[in-house]
């Protein structure tokens, strides 16, 4: 007699070894969730240190070199160890196979390898931190990064390795979505989150190799004086910027596209309505993935590139805003006349839409060359990308964490507490970053440890907001950790969602489904009859 099948993927083997050798996409997703949350904490502590230093003009708690190292490590950790892997590697891994009726991803062993590459890359980066860390900023601009005496090398190598983890994950998703959809699940029935992950995966595999090579070149420059980016040896630092932004601009969409997928799911689930204009959301996802490759020059308006180049890059950038606007209108259309359930994932969703809209509009302003020259490399840019990357993407991450927590662990969390924390966090973000727009507009440059006294009140406001945020995160960590053990048992579908992932048990069994699910209807189908729009 064979032993009885384990109830869920969580109880199928309880030893550490069974986790470290697992091929189960759900366990791999949970491991990524734990790892990325850890680095979110690390990056967050760096951020708080920065904000405390900026509380007063002059030296508050650290010197200038320490400050430079701190913001570099903050950026590196947040971008490569948290933002880029968080939603695709954690939630994507967990959900994509469930949403398309597959038993696992296409290459489970490769998937496990990507966890180990991530851990290896993260360890090398951490080692660099203990060696004192780099002081170049997360952009590693040459020639400074090739000449500074700080520990740039381990950080470069660490990020290079993490890049391979990203590529493997992306490759796996592309093959999975193409070849493992359950019978009957045609492309136009695939849930919007899966589409978003698919679009992201394309960017991941196309852009990351270029970054890998650039980082390697900088590393070689330091080790053997290769000369490629060094003007003193006949090289060109601007070439570095071109190659770097060829990756890093699409990379911002690696961060924001998966978030948009989360939001599409949440909006449908919590307004109990079909996604409004599903196709437009799909096409705009692909549009963003495509156009994202032709906008990198908008980071280089001040680098002496040709006026024609700047104009063209600016215009291409604005196209992205159009695709984004399509999505925002679709979400609003879905919410409109829905029967809205105010739950924490929806509160985060509303926060997301606000931050994305506001931050994106300011991006359009930056893409205008004349305005850009006023704001370039000021705190205003810091506020812009934090609005979108932190304001919007972290909102989506928290929405995903709360929406799928019952799916992943089979437990609910205290709803009132969660709603309170969500509101606190949204206000914390606004309080942190709105003052930074004002600072930048007044002329405070980014990446400075010191400033003239008349900027102080805005800096104090920003630090106060950051403290609110920190408080909100601590609260979330506590009630979610508590709920893991003591939360009410969730049942299979506590939100009453029509999302495909809820068709398996919560938490799902090891192979996801006992019988292969069927897909007679499209995704996100709530009411049979569409509620008429416009009266």
């Amino acid at each position: 007699m064979s032993p009885p099948a384990a109830e869920s993927y969580l109880s199928d083997g309880r030893t550490l070894w069974s986790w470290l050798t697992t091929h189960d996409h759900k366990r791999i997703g949970v491991m990524f969730l734990g790892l990325t949350l850890f680095f979110f904490l690390v990056g967050g502590l760096f951020a708080l240190a920065l904000r405390i230093e900026l509380l007063t003009p002059g030296r508050t708690i650290m010197g200038h070199l320490a400050y430079n190292r701190m913001f570099t490590l903050h950026g590196v950790t947040m971008v490569w160890l948290f933002m880029i892997p968080a939603i695709p590697s954690a939630f994507g891994n967990f959900l994509v196979p469930l949403m398309i009726g597959a038993r696992d991803v296409a290459f489970p062993r490769l998937n496990l390898a990507s966890v180990y590459l991530y851990v290896l890359g993260a360890s090398v980066t951490l080692w660099g931190m203990f060696e004192g860390g780099a002081d170049t900023g997360w952009t590693f601009y040459t020639p400074y990064s090739t000449t500074t005496g700080t520990a740039v090398l381990p950080v470069l190598v660490g990020v290079f390795i993490i890049g391979f983890s990203t590529i493997l994950t992306g490759l796996n998703f592309i093959a999975t979505v193409h070849t493992l959809r359950a019978p009957g699940l045609t492309w136009m029935k695939v849930p919007l989150f899966v589409w978003a992950i698919y679009g992201t995966a394309i960017i991941q595999v196309l852009a990351t190799p270029v970054l890998g090579m650039v980082l390697l070149l900088v590393a070689l420059e330091r080790v053997v004086g290769a000369g490629i980016f060094d003007p003193a040896r006949g090289g060109d630092p601007i070439l570095f910027q071109h190659l770097f932004w060829f990756y890093s601009h699409p990379a911002v969409y690696i961060m924001v596209l998966p978030s948009m997928g989360v939001i599409s799911e949440a909006v449908s689930a919590f307004s109990r309505k079909n996604a409004f204009s599903y196709r437009m959301i799909v096409y705009s996802t692909l549009g963003i993935a495509f156009v994202g490759f032709f906008t990198w020059g908008h980071h280089m308006f001040a680098s002496g590139q040709s006026t024609f180049g700047s104009g063209a890059f600016g215009a291409m950038s604005m196209l992205v805003a159009i695709f984004t606007a399509i999505k925002i209108f679709s979400w609003l259309g879905t919410l409109y006349r829905g029967s809205i359930a105010i739950e924490s994932p929806l509160i985060y969703t509303l926060g997301f839409m606000f931050f994305l809209f506001f931050g994106g509009m300011i991006g359009v302003a930056y893409a205008t060359t004349s305005l850009n020259l006023h704001w370039h490399d000021t705190y205003s840019v810091v506020a812009h990308f934090h609005f979108i990357m932190v304001g919007a993407t972290v909102m989506a991450f928290l929405a995903a964490l709360h929406y799928w927590f019952p799916k992943m662990f089979g437990r609910c969390f205290p709803a009132k507490l969660a709603n309170g924390a969500a509101v606190l966090i949204i206000f914390g973000f606004i309080a942190t970053f709105v003052p930074q727009f004002l600072l930048g507009n007044l002329g405070m440059p980014r990446r400075y440890a010191d400033y003239p006294p008349h900027f102080q009140s805005l800096h104090v406001a920003s630090t106060a907001g950051a403290s609110l945020l920190a408080f909100g995160f601590v609260a979330i960590a506590f009630y979610l950790a508590w709920s893991l053990r003591h939360g009410a048992v969730a049942g299979d579908n506590p939100w009453g969602s029509e999302g495909f992932e809820w068709r398996s048990a919560s938490p799902p069994p090891t192979h996801n489904f006992h019988v292969t699910p069927e897909y007679p209807t499209g995704p996100h189908e709530y009411a049979r009859e569409e509620v008429p729009h416009a009266a």
Binding site: A106, T176, V205, R233, G235
Partner: protein, 209 residues
């Protein structure tokens, strides 16, 4: 559940093959893009320092480069024949062809080594180490840096490819593959063709033109 054990979570061997192919194509795309950074740098600096690049290029050993091109193209043909043999139920022959292709890869690396030795002797080294007297340093040292990066990176791929072909060759000779299961040989073959194709870009821009 025996069928389960064979195909895992796949419906059929066919579906698995499809995924493996797709995965390989995506991987090849990432490899091409990895080299794209270097090709871009080459294009940029060649337009900045046309004279120095031409002068440095004239000192390359075209004979050895051409020999290497010949070696790689021949081995690529052998691999194509190997795939054909395995599909045609002659894994023994396939194995022999794969091992022969791997051998040509090793010869390629040896020739590359001879070239490198010549450069080292003359001082044609990358960046800071450049002390080649025939061509003045400005620009030419960048040419040599890119030369080492492109050929070195490519040689790394050849090394990986040689190991892959060797393993596949031994396993094929032992009868592990056949018409119903040729995917690993096909994928290994695709990888080797990629290595070949990249060289077909590296060779003209470094040695000819």
């Amino acid at each position: 559940m025996p069928p389960e054990a064979v195909t895992g979570h796949w419906g059929s061997e066919d579906a698995r093959k499809q995924a493996a192919y797709l995965g390989m194509w995506v991987f090849i795309a990432t490899e091409v893009l990895l080299f794209a950074g270097l090709f871009t740098a080459y294009g940029v600096y060649r337009s900045v320092y046309p004279e120095a690049f031409r002068a440095a290029q004239l000192t390359m050993e075209v004979g050895l480069g051409t020999l290497n091109t010949f070696l790689l193209v021949s081995s690529s043909i052998l691999v194509a024949l190997a795939v054909h043999a395995v599909r045609g139920a002659r894994p023994g022959l396939g194995g022999a062809l794969l091992l022969a292709a791997a051998l040509l890869g090793v010869v390629f690396l040896a020739v590359k080594g001879v070239e490198y030795a010549h450069h080292v002797k003359e001082g044609g080294l990358p960046g800071d180490a450049y002390r080649f007297t025939e061509v003045p340093r400005v620009g030419a040292s960048l040419f040599f840096t890119l030369y080492y990066l492109l050929t070195g990176f490519h040689a790394l791929h050849v090394t990986v490819g040689v190991s892959v072909l060797t393993v596949l060759g031994v396993r094929s000779a032992a009868g592990a593959f056949g018409p119903e299961y040729a995917t690993p040989v096909e994928l290994g073959g695709m990888y080797w063709h990629l290595v070949d194709v990249i060289w077909l870009f590296v060779y003209p821009i470094l040695y000819l033109s």
